[in-house]
Structures are given as structure tokens and as C-alpha cells.
Assembly symmetry: C2
């Protein structure tokens, strides 16, 4: 596992640097962002959504919001996604794509290796998670298993989908402070399944924020507030 580029200027007051991990399911490419002026005192792992990838624009926008708050961030391609595509997305074959990329256990190993690498290379800074939808399919298990992660923004996911059983089982073990986003008119993940998953989460300090709108229509003010939340929690 190693850097594959030098740090280079990126939009939104950041620098960006690529890395690659040698995973059990093939190479896992990742990207690390930090404020252009350096000095980040915290790190957030960014989990992308289904059918997207580590550099999808909305994830870069979150990285920019975090950088503006002095926080570094990093993303990797999830199982079967981005540069790890082995089966084309057809709209209804998510589970096949996910499983071909290593499934939940492979995903856990990938993220553990990524955080090992990032802490070794950039410092063991207070670390959080931001990820919605498939970013929660990844983030909930990762945050439940890896004690180095101390706060999270999750959401747009429920006791539902290809790893719904794993999420249901792991939710009570998730005890870090977190914010959980729900879209009231979610046309992909049933709202009741999202509410049920929030209810199962073991954390005492968990807050649900729900707004009207479809799955991908999380209001911009809520996204900005989620960056405020992580920056604040990581500096407590």
C-alpha cells in the first residue's frame, strides 16, 4: 500500500493525493484530501453511495466543507465500484456487484487497511466517518468494528438491502456519537426501514435529522451542518 501520486492542488482550497491498497479482492484505489494550508487536526473517512465512486462530486463537496473547517478526509472505491468495477451496474444487480467486490467482510478489511495506511502516513488524528446510503452500508459496520473511529454521520439506509441483515445485527454495537440523516420521501430505501435502523443503533448520543424529499435530495444546509457536527465532535 502506497501513495501513487504527489500531493497536488485541488479545487476548494484542498490538496489531493492518490493511494492504492493491495486488498484481498484486488487493488483498492483511494484519495486523500487536506486543507491547502495544511495543519488538519482531524480526519474523516468518506463512504460513497451506490453506483458512484471515491471522487463523485458530492463527496468532493463534503471534502471541501471539511477542509474549510480544517479537517482532512479520504475515500476509497467500495466493493465492485469505481475503478474496482468487475460487473457493470444494471440498476438491479447491486448485490452481485457488492459480493463480487468482496462483500461486507472484504469491505471491512479494505477500510481497516486504508485507515492503517492513513494513520501511519498522515498521523493518528481523531477520526470520523461520513457516508450516506451505501456510505452507511459500509460505515455502520466499519464504525461498529474499528474503535479508532469516534464519531459518524450516517443515513439514507435502513434494515434493508443487500447487507440489511448485517446492519440490523451490528447496529446495537454501534456506540459512538452520531448523526443519522433520513429523507422523508425516500423512494429507494423505505423510510420505516431507516427509522427502524436508527432505533436499533446502540449509541446513547444519536440524533436523527429528517427532511422532506427524495433519496438523493439531502438539503445543502444539512450537508454543511453535518461537516460542522463532525468537526465539532472530533475536537471535543
Amino acid at each position: 500500500m502506497s501513495w501513487t501520486t504527489e500531493a497536488q492542488a485541488a479545487e476548494g482550497g484542498m490538496t489531493e493525493r492518490a493511494f492504492t491498497l493491495a486488498g484481498d479482492n484486488g487493488d483498492v484505489p483511494g484519495v486523500y484530501w487536506e486543507p491547502a494550508e495544511g495543519g488538519a487536526d482531524a480526519l474523516v473517512l468518506l463512504g460513497h453511495g451506490g453506483t458512484t465512486h471515491k471522487r463523485v462530486p458530492y463527496l468532493i463537496a463534503v471534502a471541501q466543507l471539511l477542509a474549510a473547517r480544517g479537517v482532512a478526509s479520504a475515500a476509497i472505491d467500495g466493493p465492485g465500484h469505481g475503478d474496482r468495477l468487475t460487473i457493470a451496474h444494471t440498476g438491479d444487480n447491486f448485490k452481485a456487484v457488492w459480493d463480487a467486490g468482496g462483500g461486507t467482510e472484504g469491505m471491512l478489511a479494505d477500510w481497516r487497511a486504508a485507515l492503517d495506511f492513513l494513520h501511519a502516513e498522515t498521523g493518528e488524528r481523531p477520526t470520523g466517518w461520513w457516508g450516506l446510503s451505501m456510505g452507511t452500508m459500509m460505515g455502520l459496520p466499519v464504525c461498529a468494528r474499528d474503535e479508532r473511529i469516534r464519531t459518524a454521520v450516517l443515513g439514507l439506509m435502513g434494515t434493508w438491502g443487500p447487507n440489511g441483515a448485517a446492519l440490523t445485527e451490528m447496529a446495537p454495537k454501534l456506540t459512538l456519537p452520531l448523526r443519522f440523516l433520513v429523507q422523508w420521501d425516500d423512494e429507494i430505501v423505505p423510510r420505516d426501514a431507516c427509522l427502524e435502523l436508527f432505533g436499533l443503533i446502540g449509541a446513547k448520543r444519536k440524533t436523527l435529522h429528517a427532511n422532506p424529499g427524495l433519496h438523493a435530495a439531502v438539503p445543502q444546509f444539512e450537508v454543511a451542518a453535518s461537516a460542522d457536527y463532525l468537526a465539532s465532535q472530533l475536537r471535543r
Copy 2:
């Protein structure tokens, strides 16, 4: 309707002044708070909870949070509550108390008279509402009817209780930006009834915030954030 005391110093950097309205159901006593240094550019009406009154400590705490943000506030005793007590609270006679004090229609007239008085006496400043539980039994109808109120914090109430039918009917007519608080383990108002009421509210800009805990255990950070929200909305 008139002031009944001079403004006097109160705890938390405020001044406090009492007033009384001649209502259809007897005198309605109220209290007005503003920052000790004056200069408030907005006003928030505070609706107290069931079996409490206009000067219950948690409401004064909200008045202090608002005053610290340069916002004035005011509360009146609700139907059959506080100094308007005509039937003693027994724990299961809320509807009798509410109806004896004028019920939903009388409550609407009381609050309209209170806002008429406050705007005439202290200026027609941007005006909001803060009220949970019975404070939403009052606030939802008041905010749906009175166009002078432009933003609200509501919650801990559902399609339930003595005016549940009125709330259900009026919710779609409530179109102002609002934040709605839910306690996930509410032992008084069923959670599903709270979620249903939130879903029925007609506002496009509505956000639900839910936290673990019993009815009266709204976290302090959420209360402080609700004051931030109102101050911000009233200055848009």
C-alpha cells in the same frame, strides 16, 4: 390589555415585564422578556407544556437562550393553566382543564390578542414560535392561522390527545419553515403519532430532529440549537 408591572431585571441578562389580556375566558396573564441591553430585533412566542405555566423554569431558560442571541420573547398561561387554573390537574383530566379554559378556539383568540398587544407595544418585529408538547397543541394552530408568525420550533406532540383532530386537520395548512423535535422513547405521546404529525405538516422547509430519551428529556444541546435556529430564521 395592559402592562401590569414595570420592566425589572431578571436572571440571565434579561428584563421581565408582566401584562394581562382581557380574554373571552377571563383574564390571561403574560410575561415579556427582552435582553437587558435592549435592541432585540425579533420576538419569539413561547408555548408552555401541559400542567405547567408561563414562567416554568425550562421556558425561562429558553427565554435566556433567545435573549443571549438578541431576541425578545413572551409567554401567556394556556387554557386552564397557571394563574388561569379553574380545575385542578389530576394527571388524567387534561381535556377538561383545556376545555374549561376555552379550548382550541379560545386559545387561538388569546394568542392573537397577545401578539396584537406585543406588536403594538414593543414593535412589529419578525416573530417566531417555540413550544413543545402542549406548546405545540397551542403553537401549531396559532402558526397555521396567524401569518405574522414566520418560523417555529414545535414537537413532542402528534396526531393524538385532546386536540389531536384539530392538529391533524391544521397540519397541512402549516407552511412556515420549522424544526420539529421528537423524543424517540416518548412515554406520553406515541412516537408514531409524532412522526405522522410531522409528515402531515405542509411546510416545504421542515426538519425533524429526534433524540433518544423520555418525553421531557430533550437534550440541552437540542434546546440551544433550537434558539440558534429561530434567531437565524428570523433574521433571513
